[in-house]
């Protein structure tokens, strides 16, 4: 029983080398397929997200990253 748990840890069954618990079951970005048609709220969100991320990029270039 104890041996089995050891193996699980080594192979990523429970905890993996970076210290996190196994995340192999979690979806990846590519598993989320973008919709062909967006609702009005989502269209607004798309535009606002793009603008916010662009503003962040510009601030990083001008002032450097300061929030991490």
């Amino acid at each position: 029983m104890g041996k089995k748990n050891e193996n699980e840890n080594k192979t990523g069954g429970n905890q993996i080398s970076n210290g996190l618990r196994d995340y192999s079951h979690l979806p990846r970005a590519k598993d989320f397929k973008p919709s062909k048609r967006l609702s009005r709220e989502m269209q607004e969100l798309k535009k606002a997200t793009r603008e916010a991320l662009k503003a962040l990029e510009e601030e990083e270039k001008k002032y450097g990253v300061s929030f991490t």
Binding site: N18, G19, L20, R21, Y23, L26, P27, R28, A29, D31, F32, P34, S35, L38, E41, M42, E44, L45, K46, K47, A48, T49, R50, E51, A52, L53, K54, A55, L56, E57, E58, E59, E60, K62, Y63, V65, S66, F67, T68
Partner: protein, 139 residues
Amino acid sequence: MAFPLLDTSVFPTYKKQIEKRFEFIYFSTIVLYELTASSVDQSTLQKYERWKIALNKADRLLTPSMNDYWVAANAVRRLRLLKLINKNLAATVLQNDALIARSAHTHDCFVVTENVKDFSLLQKVMPKLEVIPAAEFFS
């Protein structure tokens, strides 16, 4: 399917990827706070405000409740008692990460982060917390 909730650490490297999957990603008011508090230009502040409104309208913004603060504080307390963090560190250490972690758990999300060290620590006292490194998620 569970949905991704982004930690602030993801933003410097993965902007394009975030934009591409924006409709499936959840954001925390904690992250919005960190981005806003560290911004400089007035125009950036205005864009963040529009983003906040749009996120809220689209139901993509998660705000910790009173109980989330309580559970997050208890989690950090346990880390201290287990001596997994230094007892002399400020009480606000890990506060934001713990709140993001708690929000993820209560909304059936998993955390996407570059800050694996702190979130792996939180997993020790938040057994249901799911975390994936950003490089893995966006690969």
